[in-house]
Subunit: 522 residues, 2 copies
């Protein structure tokens, strides 16, 4: 036997579909490659990035400057070469340009030269409303936002979108991007003057007055863009929270004001060295932070929720993954959990059955007042049950620990960091060990330790009821029997294996600690 | 679009083949499920375990005791039920029994009752030589052992196998298992007496005298079995080494003697609480440790190397994965690295090309005396290049960190812990960051930090030469050019992308620090 060369794919199944989305922003340009199977899963599988700053120096005459164009054309030809090498072409390449190119007086010259440099690519210039719509789609497909607003801040423009019942209302784009505002109000490399910041905020607030729906609106605000992600990361690190990614992280207004104050006292170079802020963003991050601060103030909202999705995901969702239907996932959390489960090649029939049995246990224990669920607890148990086995893709040994690692690494749009941490810890403890919040404790609330114990205990019982992975136990209910909780099963055929398995590994001790009752298997 | 239910497989590609191996040992019984594709990859995907102690109390009349048989028959019917639920049957189930059942005077009675309890399973009783051969196969297929010996210690028996040019010489089985020796020499639950331990060692040494080839042999000894793994784990933890698994870990003679002394001073229950020793093994681990100590003394070898493979892998390799040929991997390290790369669905053509370019750089820099490789360094660079992208299976973002996690979790038979740590760190730093040994430093040697920097630098350059994943750059050589190292490329077609990529991300600064020369791309 020879260990032959296999052209394995970078994703589950055989050959997945692939598309490239190219985002020619005012500050940075990015090419991302997505692999996907419509209706099944999607995944970002490669990325090229260049800080082109195509909008640099546009201030005076609204023209793209020659040196910026040269940088852009070189980058475009590299991107085209990458698409060719990757075998992605034609309709599978979506290249979109935003604010700087949209507003440029010499846009046509740039597009002509771009076509010459990379004839394989067709650059589409998004209108301000289209750009805002892509941001909206990214936000509502990666968070549970139903009512509120979306803010997207880039190098050239700021988008604000009204959201009600998950649908977009007013979609607006303003020339209030971080590169633009930095050049206009904060051009120095040293600390920023208070007066300059005041002028910047005033300028922003004045333009916001065009949005009566936003004034004093309150409620939720979801933020998109590298600046929001970096500020969230800086806030999380400053609060000494464990670093599990900023998806769903909320920057409160107070925290943001504190950050603006600190950043203002630093030079541009120092700002780029603040943990969480990327060095290449040090010069424009303050303008972005002050702009967001002005929006929070104007709208009277308590904070901004971070999502890692952005314009590129908006394009991908609308034009590719969800093409041909209203481009909204039916349920963001369900889509996120299933996407992860499928990518890690879980036995979906098995994990869905474990989820079913876990929730039957959960519901009948709650119905009988054995415990009182905390808000949202049921959905976390469901997600943990769906994902408890993802670590098997790494190895059977210690797969519970690997599941935690994969869940924490996976982002799970729709859940905030505390929720992701709880899902991860429930999965971690679905087999053995004494459930503890551990290094994730700093992001937890009162009652979460107990919820973790309950979730881990239910997963153990449900997993062992379904040990044969054959759905032999159809249904489980709990009845109070004196001071015990008695399991009642409906099953088809022989239940030797589930009984043996629950007795050995169902962990009656943990159950008793979590629910205050003896587990009785009859 | 609905997020439909897919019956995804727990492994790459579509439906992999599956077999069950059932090991009816004298102490514990285990069922393991392997998924595999012959000639391509294999993986343990499920496991059931029960401490049956079928050999307990056999001492007096060499008969399996009634209560032990009842425990065994119940376990067997659970295993049969699991196979049925898993859809694994007939020739795909390999059930083998070892020492206790082999030696039992009432073996036939047990087999008859076993057939009645689980008619689907055919229990094969391995001869002592067959048992030894399975251990030998596990050892030579999971380590680089060519000359030396293999030791396998179970509950009932001890196997010793002579190995020369990777082939087995004398294959012997002795009734010196840990359960047997504990019952005979160390029956108390408190600390062990010195005299008892002396008698045990003397008894072992006396039987070893049947093996003239082993006396004062020196050289390498590979150890198999749960006792060896637990002792290695205890030794690694006591030495405060980072816990990355014991595959390839060497327990030195001095360390083992120290452990025997400590364990002897403890009660059985205390032994089971020593970090690294499983609680269920507390009562028999001392007898196993003292037996191994006697073997090291008799053979005059410096230590015992741990492998996580065992009897079950031996059965799987011989009868399934490598059936129909000499059951030896051509090269254990190559097989292990490729197995991991394929499981994590790497683009093999790409990673093999990165490995090729990395080694071309390595060789031409070494040929020109730009650096002097440390022993084994070249193979570690190869392995890191082959595995640098495995983390992509988790997510593109931070895939270099995920690669480290997967490599450390993967075991990588054929490499010792220090080597695995270096491969993992080279992969970790193939994209960015300042290469550091970090938490793995405690297991490193002088010069490893420099080797890590060189390896990481070569991977960065090679990866970006192959950024299009299209093998456009066929060959790279380095020539000294004044104080610079100039890259010379042979390529087909346009090399815009590799040039851009190496200039941006090849990290000339790291290269200069690692090799003391400026990187010159001409």
């Amino acid at each position: 036997m020879s260990w032959r060369t296999t052209r394995a794919t970078a994703s589950p199944g055989l050959a997945p579909k692939r598309v490239a989305v190219i985002d020619l922003g005012s500050n940075s340009w990015r090419l991302v490659l997505y692999s996907y199977e419509p209706g099944d899963w999607w995944k970002l599988t490669d990325e090229l990035h260049e800080t082109v700053r195509i909008g640099a120096g546009m201030g005076e005459d609204d023209c793209l400057q020659e040196d910026a164009m040269v940088r852009g054309l070189e980058t475009l030809s590299v991107f085209a070469r990458f698409c060719k090498a990757s075998g992605v072409a034609g309709d599978d390449v979506h290249a979109v340009a935003t604010s700087a190119i949209r507003e440029a007086a010499n846009q046509q010259e740039f597009l002509t030269r771009a076509h010459r440099a990379a004839p394989e690519l067709t650059v589409e210039v998004l209108s301000g409303e289209d750009e805002a719509r892509m941001g909206y789609l990214a936000a509502v497909n990666s968070t549970t936002l139903r009512e509120g607003a979306v803010l997207e801040i880039g190098g050239g423009s700021l988008q604000l979108i009204e959201v009600s019942r998950r649908r977009p209302g007013d979609l607006r784009s303003f020339e209030l991007g971080a590169v633009r505002l930095t050049e206009r109000f904060l051009p120095g490399t040293g600390p920023a003057g208070k007066a300059d910041l005041r002028r910047l905020r005033k300028f922003v607030t004045k333009q916001l007055s065009e949005l009566p729906w936003l004034a004093d609106r309150g409620g939720r605000l979801v933020g998109i863009g590298g600046a929001v992600r970096n500020l969230a990361s800086a806030a999380a690190l400053a609060a000494q929270q464990p670093d599990i990614g900023v998806q769903g992280f909320q920057i409160t207004r107070d925290t943001l004001s504190g950050l603006v104050g600190e950043l203002a006292g630093m030079s541009q170079a120092e700002r780029g060295r603040v943990p969480g802020i990327k060095p290449g963003r040090g010069d424009i991050v303050l303008a972005a932070a002050a702009t967001i601060e002005a929006v929070l103030e104007f709208a009277q909202v308590e904070g901004i929720e971070t999502t890692e999705a952005g314009l590129r995901e908006g394009v991908f969702f609308e034009r590719v993954l969800l093409a041909g239907r209203e481009p909204l996932f039916d349920d963001v959390r369900v889509a996120a959990v299933r996407n992860l489960a499928i990518q890690y090649e879980s036995d979906l029939v098995h994990v869905e059955h474990v989820a079913l049995l876990s929730l039957q246990l959960f519901d009948s224990l709650a119905d009988q007042k054995v415990f009182t669920p905390t808000p949202g607890e049921r959905e976390l148990v469901w997600a943990a049950a769906m994902l408890h086995d993802v670590g098997m893709t790494i190895s059977y040994d210690d797969h519970h620990k690997h599941s935690r690692y994969l869940i924490l690494s996976g982002g799970l749009p729709g859940f905030d960091p505390r929720e992701r941490a709880l899902i991860a810890q429930m999965s971690r403890y679905h087999r053995k060990g004494d459930p503890k919040l551990g290094f994730l404790a700093p992001m937890m609330r009162d009652g979460d330790q107990e919820a973790l114990e309950r979730g881990a205990s239910l997963l153990r019982v449900a997993e062992h009821l379904e040990r044969g992975r054959d759905q032999a136990v159809h249904e489980v209910r709990v009845r109070r029997n004196g001071d015990a909780a008695a399991l009642h099963l409906r099953a088809s055929g022989d239940i030797t294996l589930p009984r043996w398995s629950v007795e050995r590994y169902g962990d009656a001790e943990l159950f008793e600690r979590a629910f205050g009752r003896r587990l009785d298997l009859d």
